[in-house]
Amino acid sequence: MMSGWSVIRIATILVYLFLFAPVAVVILLAFNANQFGSFPIEGFSFRWFEALWNNDAIVRAFKTSLLLGVLTAAISTTLGTLAALAMVRYDFPGKRTISTLLVAPILIPEVVLAVALLLFLQFLSMPKSFGLLLMGHVVFTLPFVVLVVQARLVSIRRDVEEAAMSLGATPVQTFFEVTLPLMLPAVMAGMLFAFTISFDDITGTLFWKPGGVETVPTQIFAMLRNSISPEINALGAVMVIFTIALPLVAASIARVMAMRKVGASK
């Protein structure tokens, strides 16, 4: 008879398989020579990667998504970190309400958020712009950053900051010299979160993007209207590799930093 723990281990492996099955299929089919990107696989080929590379629209969309994701991550991490600092380090009236408010964007269905903002803009007679798209992304990535950074900030002891100030650092200097380096892992995680959510977003982007701006998901969406092509799988594979590489690189950077901290003498 199997022990309970073995059952749990096997079940865990199964859940992991479930989570990765679609990813594996996407990567597999990206190398399929078959026209429809379906099983059975009829031969190994790089043709879809080649097609992808030659597809200007996708390459452009990829650049846009990258830029959008990076800017979104930068802005929403900055805003979110400040907000998290306020929430963790200070007590003030209405804190509970504000805490709910900061999380609200992930609790409102995105299609509702998208439509509301669109209607509001039209009312203001404001044209859509890349800036608006960016701010839209910032709004719904903000809660994730706030939550991640907040959780981490709680575990940073306040006395380290007090020590810095007692030694003559101003609050701002203290933040950059002590607090920020200590919460960097959470800030990075929040940034990564914001980046990928932005990179992956379709609903809001469809509504908010100004003309001529396509992100990878909207480009995929448009491609689906007119052509089915394993290019989409190749694109998926590239994105998977790209997105897997990012956290892995981040993790190894974190490890190198940790190693340096622990040093050789231990």
Binding site: R157, S166, G168
Partner: protein, 365 residues
Amino acid sequence: MADRQNAVELHNVVKRFGEFTAVKRIDLTVPDNSFVTFLGPSGCGKTTTLRMIAGLTDITEGDLLIRGKRVNSLPIHKRNLGLVFQNYALFPHKTIFDNIAFGLKYRKVSKANIADKVNKALDLVQLPHVADRYPNQLSGGQQQRIALARAIVIEPDVLLLDEPLSALDANLREEMRVELKRIQRELGVATVFVTHDQSEALAMSDKLVVMNNGFVEQEGAPEEVYNNPASAFVADFLGHSNIIQANLGSPDAAFTQVALESGETLLTTDEQTAKAKNSKDVRAVIRAEKIDLSEENRATDGVISIPGKVKTVDYLGQQARYFVEANGRDWQVINPIDAHPHKEGADIFMHIAARNCVLLPGHQD
């Protein structure tokens, strides 16, 4: 030359957190070069007071003076204080050198001078070889020394120590206590030390401030506070005392009689009687270690003996604590253990000298 300056003065300082008043009107001075200890149970307001001096907590009412200047709303980073925390609060992401150099950097000290000062500080705390390590590579005691080095290297006006020894184990604590006192002497910096450990407080302080419930119960030299507690709280918090309701009797030749509630009569000095003469009720305070136990009655002039029976004995190393029943009342007695300690159930006599019977005015709470 001017008068001897006070490093820190608190005048009528009050701290409220919302409805709760943590510090209820405190008046205190920390003289230059002195080692002042705030002693009290947790929640007594001692840490809050320290944090107000540091500038980590703002003051609700009253004035705070550092070196004669009112600094109530001066932010912490402009106060030039050395602060040592209970959990060291070393920067985990900086080397020991950078930790100690931190304050110097913000004082615009030149690079060469920084290195020089840091090395001197490391020498002072007797850890000259750890500059390149990170805090998590040091033991607790070493981290505490570094925290101290970091606080003193900036040559602070006042050194503030917030229960700096409580995270250390017993032996190390003893060692650091001596070390801390040595360094303080060497530097001559005015020091405020917060602790709930009475032995630390008694051993280290020039001046002891006993706090309770947001008030200063008593301040003074350690031996004075110890021998002559101003309140039942102080008597009980510092060491173990027997506090018994009593009535003052008529003055004898050299002593005054004190009739205890439990029936015995003790003697006390005129000095004590003077303290209580305006009060209807008095309490007699007899420290547990000031009672002499023996199997024979050794009453002499000025020493009363009370017969009793040993109920329990706790061995505390070189001492033993006895609970002695006399007239239906339990007394606590702490005596050194001689060749043969008293056994449970033994009939013994408690001897109490007149000078060891301290009187407090007022009624038992």
